[in-house]
């Protein structure tokens, strides 16, 4: 598409098919034109018509007209194969830069079966699925990630060439499901806040290695607690999900600091990301300092996710 017209086209499309978590493909949202196969089909029909004319053969005319009519009827069938389909955002799973981003899209039929529905982001290959009558399918779409932050992959192309392949019906939908991309973890020195206890990382690790954290008892599992600390034995005894509660020495709390690192912003964020992951894995409580943001010391999956999100979104407009 011409660069000059691109914004106009996007605006027009945004008005016609507004971004939404659930898009039902209707008449207004489906476009349909002959495909390249359709062009070849028409040329073949032209040749057959020529044979009919030159041999004055009514049956050759008849077959040409029959196939031309099939072509026209296929417009309705191709449209029908796409119409009535509902696409719903099925959520995303955050990934690190460089990993393939994964978007789940749910396709629901509101009546008819839909065959060979292709979807994806051009120019990459489209993924093809069948949806049974009244059924639904969740398919996972992939796209490469190149930078951290919210990744919006652009409009999703949904197309169908079924039944004959001579026409292509398509729609561009925006399911409004951005993917959170964390910085790529980069191993490096532990960046500790200068104001905190001047404690070397070795000491921190030592403390951990000695098992200094005291076992306090069990407490009921709350979503957000680290799953690594689940007491599976208690669970198997039928006491429900319980979490081993450790108290850690407050003095050993680590304070990750953006300012303690040098290098460009992305490198620093990558280092921090690495340590957030490392410390979370060890169930070490830590705090995170970014310019203009402070996350108090805590541990657990929820804390880790919050920290990663803060790293991913650092510097991007709120």
């Amino acid at each position: 598409m011409n660069r000059r017209w691109r914004p106009h086209w996007d605006r027009w499309l945004a008005r016609r098919i507004p971004a939404s978590g659930s898009v039902r493909l209707t008449q207004r949202r489906i476009f349909i034109v002959p495909s390249r196969v359709g062009g070849a089909f028409m040329i073949a029909l032209g040749l057959m018509l020529l044979a009919g004319i030159n041999y004055q053969n009514s049956l050759a005319y008849g077959l040409t007209f029959l196939l031309a009519s099939v072509f026209v009827v296929a417009i309705l069938h191709t449209y029908r194969n796409l119409a009535g389909l509902t696409l719903k955002a099925g959520g995303t799973t955050p990934v690190f830069v460089g990993e393939a981003g994964r978007w789940r899209v749910r396709l629901e039929s509101s009546g008819r079966a839909h065959q060979a529905i292709a979807l994806g982001w051009l120019p990459a290959d489209l993924q093809s699925v069948d949806i049974a009558e009244q059924g639904s399918v969740t398919c996972e779409l992939n796209a490469p990630t190149t930078r951290r932050g919210w990744l919006r992959p652009g409009r999703l192309r949904v197309e169908s060439r079924f039944p004959l392949g001579v026409l292509v019906a398509w729609s561009w939908v925006d399911l409004d499901q951005p993917l959170l991309v964390y910085p790529r973890p980069l191993p490096g020195e532990l960046p500790l806040h200068a104001g905190a206890d001047q404690q070397s990382p070795e000491q921190g690790r030592l403390a951990h290695g000695q098992g200094a954290d005291d076992f306090q008892g069990l407490k009921a599992y709350q979503p957000g607690d680290s799953r690594r600390r689940l007491d599976w034995k208690a669970y198997s005894r039928g006491q429900g999900l319980q979490v081993k509660d450790f108290a850690s020495y407050s003095g050993l709390e680590l304070d990750l600091d953006f300012e303690a690192l040098d290098g460009d912003i992305e490198t620093r964020l990558s280092r921090l990301c690495h340590w957030v992951l490392m410390l979370s894995e060890r169930q070490q409580s830590f705090a995170l300092r970014l310019p203009g943001l402070y996350r108090a010391a805590a541990s657990g999956d929820a804390h880790r996710d919050a920290c990663l999100q803060a790293l991913a979104l650092y510097g991007s407009p709120p």
Partner: protein
């Protein structure tokens, strides 16, 4: 019978001012043989509501204040050696009442909590090898304080599921509070309440609730709701079959209170926040209490017809 029910409701409403919807829900919950969880700040009238309900329904009432040192025996009862007979004699705990108020249930240890919850589920308790049935009818109204979490053991999901409804009373309206301030102490009014229903009548009503008609069209609506919680991405998990059963039972009771012998979608919608609010979690916020936003979404987006 229904006039008596109305009388019950208005009697409770006179004690607990300006809380008609919550009182009605609480009544529906009891009629549907469900247990009730009231989540609110202290002093909002949780105890008053339970006590008033017990009085008008003619039920025996016991209150258990849950504390961190409460032991299961304190709830269920213990056997004490009787010197006269030379035998162990069972002293039933407070749970052997028809309406039990478990106050601040999240203050007790999980062990004590589960003693109560198992009794709720099974309608009987097993102590020292002997199984003892709980009275019939048997209701538990549990309360918990959502704000002060220090030193509490929040109920896990599996336990929350056992409560048919979760209610929140909230602050009274201005007029109601004015009346509250001018009038007598609410608690002092309680003893004046006369039982309006007896056990037999309550049993009849409870037996009638499952007879309330739920047409195919209505079941379809319930299924659409349940399906939405299971397929929409914003739900961390979907409603369990127990949840959908609870929804229908509560809707039936609500329709019965509205003097109808069939359920309409509006009944389902009326009980939906109370029945499913504590069973749902927002995907984006698994630790928080996104339930009510999800319920609003369900009410708004799932076609009722």
């Amino acid at each position: 019978m229904r006039t008596k029910l109305d009388a019950c409701l208005s009697a409770v409403n006179q004690i607990l001012l300006g809380k008609e919807p919550q009182v009605r829900l609480a009544m529906a919950c009891l009629l549907a043989r469900g247990h009730l969880l009231i989540e609110d700040l202290p002093g909002m009238g949780k105890t008053t509501l339970s006590h008033a309900l017990a009085r008008v329904l003619g039920l025996s009432f016991q209150r258990i204040q849950f504390t961190s040192d409460l032991l299961p025996g304190d709830i269920l009862g213990t056997s004490v050696f009787d010197k006269d007979s030379g035998q162990f004699v069972f002293h039933p705990g407070p749970i052997f009442a028809e309406l039990v108020l478990a106050d601040e249930i999240n203050r007790a240890t999980p062990k004590s909590q589960s003693a109560l919850l198992e009794a709720m589920e099974e309608g009987q308790v097993t102590i020292e090898g002997a199984t003892r049935p709980l009275p019939e009818p048997f209701f538990v109204i549990a309360t918990q304080n959502p704000v002060s979490q220090g030193g509490t053991f929040a109920l896990p999901e599996s336990q929350l599921d056992r409560f048919l409804m979760r209610l929140s009373l909230g602050y009274p309206g201005k007029a109601a509070e004015r009346a509250l301030l001018l009038g007598d102490s609410r608690r002092s009014l309680l003893p004046r309440l006369e039982p309006i229903l007896d056990h037999r009548e309550l049993g009849l009503i409870q037996a009638e609730i499952p007879q309330v008609r739920a047409s195919d069209a209505l079941i379809d609506y319930v299924l659409r709701l349940v399906d939405a919680t299971r397929t929409q991405p914003q739900f961390a998990w979907g409603l369990s079959p127990r949840g959908s059963l609870a929804l229908l039972a509560a809707a039936r009771a609500w329709a019965f209170l509205a003097e109808r012998d069939y359920v309409i979608p509006e009944d389902v919608q009326a009980v939906l926040p109370a029945v499913v609010g504590h069973r749902l979690r927002d995907q984006a916020d698994p630790a928080g209490h996104g339930g009510s936003a999800l319920v609003q979404w369900l009410l708004r987006e799932v076609p009722a017809l």
